[in-house]
């Protein structure tokens, strides 16, 4: 106290009509007022914070936490759905591939069978025609061979007629030809 007074005395501007300052925190006569106003202020502060401010602030934080958790759940659900769709797609793709393969196989088999059948038909046709032509050739040959006798006869007759001047008897020519052929 004494020290404070001397400091006060030496540093106070002249003419300053300040009352003597002790050490304010230890001036007990101010305690009552400070305690009274501290109590009023702190009770008011506590009430306002606990009733109004903190529920609001906590609500905002809790709200955000719930929202983030919600969004994460949604994202997880969407991810699983996307994965499901992916597997479904893959399955469909595999199925389609299988079906396409089967279809290709079937078509190939069908086409092969068709072309086989066509080839067989063609072959049969050709064989038939071959046989027909063979038969024609044989008949034609036989026919031609049958004509050979007549031609030989006529030729022989003609030659003899030229040589001898008169036509030979057909029976004689026939007989001569038979003899030659034999």
């Amino acid at each position: 106290m004494a020290q404070a007074q001397t400091t006060h005395a030496t540093t106070e501007a002249p003419g300053g009509a300040h009352e003597d300052i002790g050490f304010p925190p230890f001036e007990t006569e101010t305690y009552g007022g400070q305690l009274l106003w501290l109590a009023i202020t702190f009770v008011a502060l506590y009430t306002l914070l606990s009733r109004l401010v903190l529920p609001r602030l906590g609500g905002i934080i809790e709200n955000r936490r719930a929202m983030i958790a919600n969004d994460l759940d949604d994202a997880a659900a969407m991810k699983s759905r996307a994965e499901e769709a992916g597997t479904a797609y893959e399955k469909a793709l595999a199925e389609a591939k299988g079906r396409a393969q089967a279809l290709a196989q079937e078509t190939r088999a069908k086409l092969a069978a068709e072309s086989d059948a066509r080839r067989k038909a063609l072959e049969a046709d050709l064989n038939q025609r071959l046989a027909e032509s063979d038969a024609t050739i044989t008949t034609k040959k036989a026919e031609a061979m049958s004509h050979v006798d007549a031609i030989a006869r006529d030729t022989a007759s003609a030659i003899i007629e030229r040589l001898t001047g008169k036509a030979p008897a057909p029976q004689a020519v026939e007989a001569a030809l038979k003899q030659i052929k034999a």
């Binding site: 304010p24 925190p25 007022g33 400070q34 305690l35 106003w37 905002i60």
Partner: protein, 242 residues
């Protein structure tokens, strides 16, 4: 030039109801806290703006400190701890503004706050645990012949808590403000002295600037220390077994 302790003087404003500069700054601190937090949270935005971020950081900071010290059940004291932290922090920081009164530089204020904490601890401890709360003073696993001494020591340490809690805050705020005022006073004295001494005036000014930064740190740190100790003491009320 006034004395370095003049800044702590209680000056009446409305004497009839004992309303002083101290009362004014208490109400100012409370108004800054409530007004600031309400303003910060006015949009209730999911994506917070700057002000709302600060409010949320303060909220989470105090909540984490409390839960770390006392566990989940300590959250019932959250409004009290948050009010104490915000009041001390705001009072300390308001006091850093030149010309402003520092509410927490008065021992009666810090002591009242400390008594509020200890009173809460004792009241809740007895309400919740009854006489079992006294087990706080009887650590388990101590030999019987040592028990009386231990109990006395525990009792003294418990009773000294409000004193150390209030003195720490009070002394820090008081000493810091006195040091600031003394160094600021040197600047004026040196300037007034004239001659070679005037040239030296910037030195205490630099010191005052450095002290100012330190005092901001102390203001926030002491509010935090007060809060952490409050949480630790509340933990004793919640879990009295050693």
């Amino acid at each position: 030039m006034a004395s370095p302790i003049e800044q702590f003087q209680i000056k009446p404003i409305i004497p009839v109801i004992n309303f002083t500069n101290s009362s004014l700054f208490m109400i100012g601190a409370a108004a800054v806290i409530v007004g600031g937090l309400l303003y910060a949270t006015r949009k209730r935005a999911v994506v917070p703006g700057r002000a709302q971020s600060v409010a949320e950081v303060l909220h989470d900071f105090v909540a984490n400190t409390l839960v770390d010290a006392t566990g989940k059940e300590g959250m019932k004291f959250f409004p009290l701890v948050f009010s104490l932290f915000m009041f001390v922090l705001t009072a300390n920081l308001l006091g850093m503004i030149p010309g402003f009164f520092t509410v927490t530089s008065h021992i009666i204020v810090t002591f009242a706050l400390a008594l509020l904490v200890i009173g809460t601890v004792v009241t809740y401890g007895f309400m919740k645990h009854g006489t079992h709360f006294l087990g706080l003073f009887v650590p388990s696993g101590v030999p019987a012949w040592l028990l009386p001494f231990i109990v006395v020591i525990e009792l003294i340490s418990f009773l000294s808590r409000p004193i150390s809690l209030s003195l720490r805050l009070f002394a820090n705020m008081l000493a810091g403000h006195i040091a600031l005022k003394v160094f600021a006073g040197f600047v004026v004295s040196l300037l007034a002295a004239g001659g070679a001494l005037t040239i030296l005036a910037p030195l205490p000014l630099l010191m005052a600037v450095a002290l100012m930064a330190l005092e901001f740190l102390v203001a926030a740190l002491q509010a935090y220390v007060f809060t952490v100790l409050t949480c630790i003491y509340l933990n004793d009320a919640l879990h009295p077994g050693h």
